[in-house]
């Protein structure tokens, strides 16, 4: 008897959550964007390395909106397509700064660790 519905996307969101949030907030730093543009921006910005799944993107956007880090409004794109645009709030800006700082500290630490490890094994 299936007791719980399976939620395969959930785990992946949890895995990616911190990073994806950071990427989204960063993308919105220079102005409001809709969901599709955000995926495109992350993909091209990372040289096609990072591909954001819609199954992660939209839950993340709605969660960020609930947390008050982004807000949304319906606007027309340059091609006259009605779309939901997300924009950073003041709290989102602060959150972005904090997450970015933390990310940089962490990647530096991991990088040092990896380099150190390489020296030892050499």
């Amino acid at each position: 008897m299936p007791i719980f519905r399976k939620k395969p996307y959930r785990n992946r969101i949890e895995l990616l959550q911190g990073t994806l949030d950071l990427l989204i907030l960063r993308t919105l730093k220079w102005g409001s964007q809709h969901g599709y543009a955000i995926t495109q921006a992350i993909r091209s910005g990372s040289g096609d390395v990072l591909q954001v799944e819609t199954g992660s993107l939209y839950p993340a956007l709605h969660r960020l909106e609930k947390q008050g880090w982004v807000e949304s409004e319906w606007k027309l794109t340059e091609h006259n397509q009605r779309a939901k645009f997300y924009r950073l709030t003041a709290a989102g800006r602060k959150q972005l700064a904090a997450e970015q700082a933390q990310w940089e500290r962490m990647s530096e630490a991991i990088g040092r660790l990896l380099r150190g490890g390489a020296e030892e094994s050499a």
Binding site: K7, Y9, I13, Y36, T54, Y58, R63, K66, H79
Partner: protein, 879 residues
């Protein structure tokens, strides 16, 4: 849900926009429209799933999950009907007992009056060193009304007894009615169901307007609920009154027990009781009114109380009694009920305690069942944890199951309580003027039931649920028995069952002591005979007899009845014991040192004729009884009881001493001493009492007591015929054999309490036994393998039987021992509030634990026998 739909549509559109933009990009890159659409969709992924996961972020999932868990819980419980039934039944008993206890408490003490904003309506009583609940004279009531500026309104009322005849009635009935002051319905805020209340002039101009408002029940029962009743006439004490209104069903008067049949303006006193009008309105000594004051909104009761103190001081100064002797006290309805009837308070507290204990045992039972199930479900839980279910989610799901159990138990408990309440509501004290215990299951009881359910769920559900989800998936999956966790859990259950046995022993000891006390009371000698006596009450003043005519009527009546066939003796008395229709009389025993601040003592008394002591078999221990020669012109004489003599004239002879009646100032000489009997309640301590000669006082209301040779009811028609021959208009009431009055009126309520208390004791014990049985069976099933090994290496069936029995007995006996230890101090506390309880008898202290031990053994026997029949080869092949 509207908000949710809008969000859903918005999400749909957001996704449509995404797909449209992706498609457009692809077309611009040169894909065909068909390819572009298909690729955009493929790249997007599972649209439904994306929506679902996104929706979860909105926070609505919580409610959906609860619904899901409740549904799953329902399926689980349906799959295990024995478990579910046992749990629900246990809870039903526990919760039902509490609801029933609540509705009794509600009927006796808690239910507010059915008036507007009852919290603002306060009772005003006089307080003297002797009496905390003195009633107030009409003049005093007017002064309170003038003096209380913080009161929105002040009203007065009193119950009275009157004869009532509808036009078609040949003989009037006797009923209780209520006389009300002006503004009564307005200040209480009661809208008549039909018609109107009394107009301002009707209730202020004395004696002018014979108008009456009927109670709902009188209107329904005697008038057939006729809507055209307004303007019709009923005769009250022979005077035609016209009906102007009917009260709503929920308003049954100002007392929990006494319900008036109708309401008349107080201004009609002089017409209803000729000759009493002037006295009633002017006398300051005739204190007969109950006064209620409604506080103005926003006014604290301290201010009103201060104003009342000023009124009381002015009254005391004018009456030239020492200041501070008599003050006025403001009390809420609940306060006055609690203070006025401490016995009721004790009874309610006792029932509350017992029912709470029953609930404890019931909850322990269900908790034990759940813990056992937790063990059995360890595998299921472990698998779920292993495949990634969150512990919080599992916990929530188990709590949902507990909630279901609690709700089902609560519903069944309401059913049980409803039965009990129906049965209680059927109890009436048998008089023609109804005294009812208005138990009912209303929305207040239901709210209470809901609260009890919640408490129960927390008590039985949370710990087992928490324990259930604590298991380590790894170990549970490896082996069938989890050694360490199992031992720990078993210890928890042992404690639980031991506590259950202990609590049920406390329950049994308390209810045993009460059964003991009430049993003694029921066989106690009330001090009067109750067999072969027919009683019948009269009040000729209701048909406007004057004093001389009344005396003549009674003399003729007595002569006539004495001449009837089958009559052994006839006596007349003002009242009979156990009917509070005579009040305490203030008097001063000659030569007795009154305590300070106390100008007199109050003693209950009766007025009897010369045959009373013989017919009622109340023995005289000294002097003589009342005699035929003790008539109006002679010196006032009295017979006192032994307690009176002992208390006021200790060590001396009472015969020949005197006491003074404070109200009339008359001296009364004691001519005899009678054996002390019971007068108001069978549980009372010895109480002083005195008898005056009926011929020396005004005779209005009199009870005729007829001693018969055969069954007393056989003489009823002959008695009624004798009365009708003398005066066909004479109202007669409470015609019934004394023993039936005694059995229902005196023992009835005591019997109800007794039955409730024993029911709770037995329920608690049965629940504890079920718990013990469950635990022992469970541990046998867990130990199948161990027992198999023991038998394989040579243990005999008897050894196994003994081993399992010992386990249960150790629990039962140690629980009982703890219970016994706990019940002694607890009992001492209870007795402080419930004086009739007596002391713990050896019977209770020895019989109850023995009984419990025997039952414990009986409960362990089936699982022990099952264990002893285990086949080692089968048991070891397990798994």
């Amino acid at each position: 849900m509207n908000w949710r739909n809008r969000k859903d549509e918005e999400l749909d559109e957001e996704i449509r926009a995404h797909l449209a933009m992706a498609e457009r990009d692809r077309r611009e890159r040169g894909e065909s429209p068909r390819e572009a659409a298909a690729n955009a969709r493929r790249e997007f992924g599972n649209e439904a799933l994306v929506k679902e996961v996104t929706r979860e972020m909105w926070g609505w999932v919580r409610a959906e999950r609860w619904a899901q868990d409740l549904g799953y819980g329902l399926r689980v419980l349906r799959a295990q009907p024995v478990f579910a039934l046992t749990a629900v039944l246990s809870l039903a008993i526990g919760i039902g007992a509490n609801i029933a206890a609540f509705s009794i408490a509600d009927a006796m003490l808690l239910r507010p009056l059915a008036v507007r904003d009852p919290a603002k309506l306060m009772a005003v009583h006089g307080v003297t060193p002797l009496d905390g609940f003195e009633r107030i004279s009409y003049a005093g009531f007017r002064e309170i009304r003038e003096g209380c500026r913080s009161c929105e309104g002040v009203v007065a009322h009193r119950m009275f007894r009157f004869s009532v005849a509808r036009p078609q009635d040949p003989v009037p009935q006797v009923r209780m009615g209520m006389q009300v002051s002006d503004g009564f319905f307005e200040v209480l805020g009661i809208q008549p169901r039909i018609g109107r209340g009394f107009s301002a002039d009707e209730s202020t101009v004395p004696g002018r307007d014979p108008v009456v408002v009927l109670s709902y029940s009188y209107w329904q029962q005697e008038m057939g609920g006729d809507p055209a009743v307004l303007g019709r006439t009923v005769r009250l004490n022979g005077i035609p009154f016209s009906v102007v209104g009917v009260m709503p069903e929920e308003f049954t008067g100002m007392d929990a027990f006494l319900r008036p049949a109708m309401y008349v303006p107080m201004t009609m006193t002089s017409r209803l009781f000729p000759g009493r009008g002037a006295e009633f309105f002017e006398s300051r000594e005739l204190r007969d009114l109950l006064v209620k004051a409604r506080l103005k909104p926003g006014v604290g009761r301290e201010r009103a109380q201060a104003e009342l103190r000023a009124v009381a001081a002015a009254q005391a100064e004018r009456d030239r009694v020492g200041s501070g002797r008599r003050t006025l006290q403001l009390r809420t309805e609940l306060e006055s009920r609690l203070e006025e009837a401490p016995a009721n308070k004790a009874l309610v507290a006792m029932l509350g305690l017992l029912s709470a204990l029953v609930l404890c045992v019931a909850c322990a039972n269900v908790a034990g069942l759940l813990l056992a199930r937790a063990q059995a479900r360890q595998r299921e839980i472990a698998v779920r944890l292993a495949i990634g279910a969150g512990r919080a989610r599992l916990f929530q799901q188990l709590v949902a199951e507990s909630l279901l159990l609690g709700a089902a138990g609560g519903l069944a408990g309401c059913g049980l309580a409803y039965g009990a309440v129906r049965w209680l509501a059927a109890i009436q004290i048998p008089t023609d003027t109804p005294i009812v215990l208005g138990t009912r299951l209303d929305e207040r009881a239901l709210v209470f039931a809901g609260l009890v359910c919640l408490v129960a769920v927390v008590a039985f559900g949370l710990v087992p649920a928490w324990r259930t989800v604590q298991g380590q998936p790894g170990s549970a999956l490896q082996s069938r028995e989890v050694a360490e966790g199992g031992r720990l859990r078993l210890r928890g259950r042992n404690l639980l069952v031991g506590a259950q046995v202990a609590v049920s022993l406390v329950l049994l000891v308390i209810s045993g002591a009460m059964v003991d006390a009430f049993g003694k009371m029921m066989v106690a000698d009330p001090g009067i005979r109750t067999d072969h006596v027919m009683m019948m009450e009269f009040d000729p003043s209701l048909v406007q007899y004057d004093g001389a005519r009344t005396v003549a009527f009674y003399r003729q009546l007595k002569d006539r009845v004495a001449g009837l066939a089958g009559v052994r003796g006839v006596t007349m008395a003002r009242g009979i014991p156990f009917r509070p229709n005579f009040t305490d009389e203030p008097l001063i025993p000659e030569g007795y040192d009154l305590p300070k601040e106390q100008p007199y003592v109050k003693v209950a008394g009766n007025m009897v004729d010369e045959d009373y002591f013989r017919v009622m078999k109340t023995p005289l221990v000294a002097g003589r009884g009342i005699e035929r020669s003790d008539v109006r012109d002679g010196a006032m004489v009295a017979v006192v009881n032994e307690e009176f003599a002992r208390r006021y004239w200790p060590g001396g002879r009472a015969v020949g001493r005197r006491f003074r009646l404070v109200e009339s100032g008359q001296w009364v000489e004691v001519v005899g001493v009678a054996r002390t009997a019971k007068y108001l309640s069978l549980m009372e301590a010895p109480t002083p009492y005195f008898y005056l000669s009926l011929a020396q006082v005004t005779q209005n209301r009199v009870t005729l007591l007829v001693e018969t040779e055969g069954p007393p009811q056989n003489i009823t028609s002959a008695l009624l015929a004798a009365v009708r021959d003398l005066d066909p208009n004479q109202p007669v009431y409470n015609v019934r054999p004394l023993d039936s009055f005694y059995a229902q009126g005196v023992l009835g309520l005591a019997r109800v309490v007794l039955q409730m208390v024993s029911a709770m004791g037995i329920a608690g014990m049965l629940l504890a036994l079920v718990g013990l049985y469950g635990l022992v069976s469970y541990s046998v099933s867990r130990r199948t393998r161990e027992i198999g090994i023991r038998m394989a290496v040579g243990a005999g069936r008897a050894t196994v039987l003994r081993m399992v029995l010992r386990q249960g007995l150790v629990l039962g006996v140690s629980g009982a021992a703890f219970g016994l230890l706990a019940s002694v101090p607890l009992f001492r506390v209870l007795r402080a509030g419930f004086s009739g309880l007596g002391i713990l008898s050896a019977w209770t202290l020895i019989a109850v634990p023995l009984l419990l031990a025997a039952l414990t053994a009986a409960a362990c026997l089936p699982p022990a026998r099952r264990a002893s029949r285990i086949d080692p080869t089968q048991a070891l092949r397990f798994d």
